[in-house]
Amino acid sequence: MILSSLCVAYAGLLALALAMDRHHEQVFARRPSARTSRLLGWAGWLGLTLSLPPTVTAWGWAIGIPAWLGLLTVAAAALVLLLPHAPRAALRLGPAALLCAPFPALLG
């Protein structure tokens, strides 16, 4: 459960970062169009929202919310460290994380 949430949170944060000019350039070496930027922003917020339910179903609200915030910290830290050093890897990790997200939930 915790891993599902982490994967979705990472993908969401990545989309949010790519919606910003500075980080879009870091990865694609060009600025995003206004439309792309807006879509990425929505996708990002959707990802963040979707990363909450797994923690809450696993732990309840009282522990689920702090756990979710902690997972966001971990996912964002990974993204922040990857973006300047390996922007391509940061990008590829996004879809990979989304693909992996359902498995921990199915396992337990």
Partner: protein, 539 residues
């Protein structure tokens, strides 16, 4: 006008952060390790590493207790779990006063055999835990006030820092290690602060709440005419359970296995049974109380779910319902419960640990940034202050070395002392702590004797070596080394060794960067800033 406001906030942020920053760094670092204080203590007691729990552990422990303390008023048996391989037991002699904690007798049992173990004397993770809010070697109340004042400075630094930085979401993912020193330190500081901001706010405010009656006694003393005990009683804290009253008739204790089986089924997702409390063992009115390993409620003082059984018939009894907490106490207890994280299972515990590391990095990078910024203000592209430097900047830099690089070194030295001091040494726990402070004092003395860059590099290398070699030390001095712990899936011990190795590698990475002068910025000289300018990049 607007910029003036932000500049004074920047000023407040840098000074409230700097003056208590060294203490805050120590509090954050030791507090972060304290999230794993049980695990640290287990690592520091190799005599426990051979203890392997099995299905009969709990029964064996109960049987052993009936030999060790047949006449005790109460037994408490903490079963092994993910945080400890051995059984910790304590008992209250029949003649002890009800609330006298000092009268409790303690022992550690081997989970596989039930034998009483004699682990080496050590303060273990508890020393680091206590240090993070009571320091060491000074009256407890004074130390708590000092830490409380530092915590308030932290809160002021967080609020003024948020106002100063303003563009929190815009810069959320920004880290530019390739840029000039000034900018990359700034990025690192902001990232560590912002990415774990909810944690930092929670840990700081709840830190104040944990001392609230000491720091802010005025409301209590006014409303209760100075009678704090009346306040504690009325607000539902420290309500002592009624003392055990053993019945005169003896009666054999019911077999615990069926009770444990029922509880384990019920708490399958909570790590099963964590502890048993047997009250009036061997008497007609004996009771057995079971608690789960992982609590589902965070709040301090909140009632955890438990099961109560008649100790003679084994019949389930009704658990008296805890009074619901009023909203105010529930809120405060929730925050303090998060701070202490006693409820946390392994996954949550790691999240708290990582957030604590972020806090430590935030304070450390802030301290370093203070010096780096002043060096660049003096128009030097070189970060190391090799030329003439004002005494205050020099002092801050050398304190940074002795604390930011020196304290990890001292923590590592503490772990080394644990294994190198003879196991039977008298006052052994005290000697381990002595080594910690000697190593730290050496680091603080070493720093002013060396040029800045060399001082950083040497202490970081020393810390890196001490941490990275801890798994080797463990291999040489204890059976629970990686070669055994990994194949056995013993994540408690393997986790300590692997974390030490990772910390060593990180410190080594930092030392190498310092050695290559990478932090000074390669080609881009640090911008020369007017005094008092707010560091911020134009958008």
């Amino acid at each position: 006008m607007k910029d003036g406001f932000r500049q004074s906030m920047a000023w407040l942020h840098s000074w409230s952060g700097l003056l208590l920053g060294w203490l805050l760094f120590a509090v954050f670092l030791t507090g972060t390790i304290a999230y794993f204080r049980q695990e640290v203590t287990v690592w520091m007691q190799p005599e426990l590493h051979g203890s392997i729990p099995d299905a009969g552990t709990a029964e064996r422990a109960v049987e052993r207790m009936s030999q060790l303390a047949p006449d005790a008023a109460q037994w408490t048996i903490a079963l092994p779990g993910e945080r400890s391989p051995a059984v910790s037991v304590s008992w209250r002699p029949a003649d002890a006063k009800p609330n006298d904690r000092a009268a409790l007798k303690r022992a550690t049992l081997d989970a596989g055999t039930g034998a009483v173990l004699e682990p080496r004397e050590t303060a273990g993770g508890n020393f680091l835990y206590r240090f993070h809010f009571e320091l060491y070697g000074m009256p407890r109340e004074i130390a708590r006030w000092i830490v409380g004042i530092a915590t308030m400075a932290m809160l002021v630094a967080i609020v003024s820092g948020i106002i100063t930085h303003r563009r929190i979401f815009k810069d959320l993912f920004t880290f530019r290690p390739e840029k000039a020193a000034l900018r990359s330190w700034m990025d690192g500081h902001v990232a560590a602060a912002v990415l774990a901001l909810p944690f930092h706010l929670m840990i700081t405010y709840s830190g104040l709440l944990l001392f609230m009656t000491m720091l802010m006694p005025w409301a209590v003393d006014l409303a209760y005419d100075g009678n704090r005990q009346a306040y504690f009683a009325e607000s539902g804290f420290r309500r002592a359970p009624p003392p055990p009253r053993p019945a005169p008739q003896a009666a054999p204790l019911t077999p615990v296995a069926p009770l444990l089986a029922e509880a384990d089924r019920r708490w399958a997702d909570r790590g099963g049974v964590g502890s048993l409390t047997v009250t009036n063992p061997g008497r007609a009115n004996a009771t057995i109380e079971l608690r789960p390993a992982e609590s589902d409620s965070i709040g301090r003082g909140a009632a955890t779910e438990r099961l109560l059984f008649d100790g003679v018939t084994g019949r389930a009894q009704e658990v008296p319902a805890a009074d619901p907490q009023p909203a105010a106490m529930a809120t405060g207890n929730y925050l303090m419960g998060l701070h202490l994280a006693r409820f946390a299972g392994p996954g949550m515990r790691w999240l708290f640990f990582v957030s604590g590391v972020a806090g430590t990095v935030m304070v450390g990078s802030g301290l370093i940034f203070w010096v780096v910024k002043r060096r660049s203000q003096r128009g030097r592209a070189d970060t190391w202050g090799n030329g003439p430097e004002p005494f205050g900047h020099r002092l801050a830099d050398r304190l940074n070395i002795g604390v930011v690089a020196g304290l990890p070194l001292a923590v590592a030295a503490y772990f080394w002392a644990n294994r190198l001091l003879p196991a039977g040494l008298g006052e052994r726990a005290g000697w381990e702590i002595e080594v910690f402070f000697l190593a730290w004092a050496a680091a603080l003395l070493h720093a002013p004797l060396r040029p800045s860059r060399r001082g950083w590099a040497e202490q970081l290398w020393a810390g890196a070596a001490l941490f990275a070699l801890l798994p080797v030390l463990n291999l040489a001095t204890a059976p629970g080394h990686l070669g055994n712990s990994l194949p056995a899936g013993n994540w408690l011990l393997a986790g300590f060794d692997l974390t030490a190795l990772a910390v060593g590698l990180l410190l080594g990475f930092a030392a190498r960067k310092v050695g290559r002068n990478a932090f000074a910025g390669k080609t881009v000289p640090a911008p020369v800033l007017p005094a008092g300018a707010v560091v911020e990049e134009p958008t």
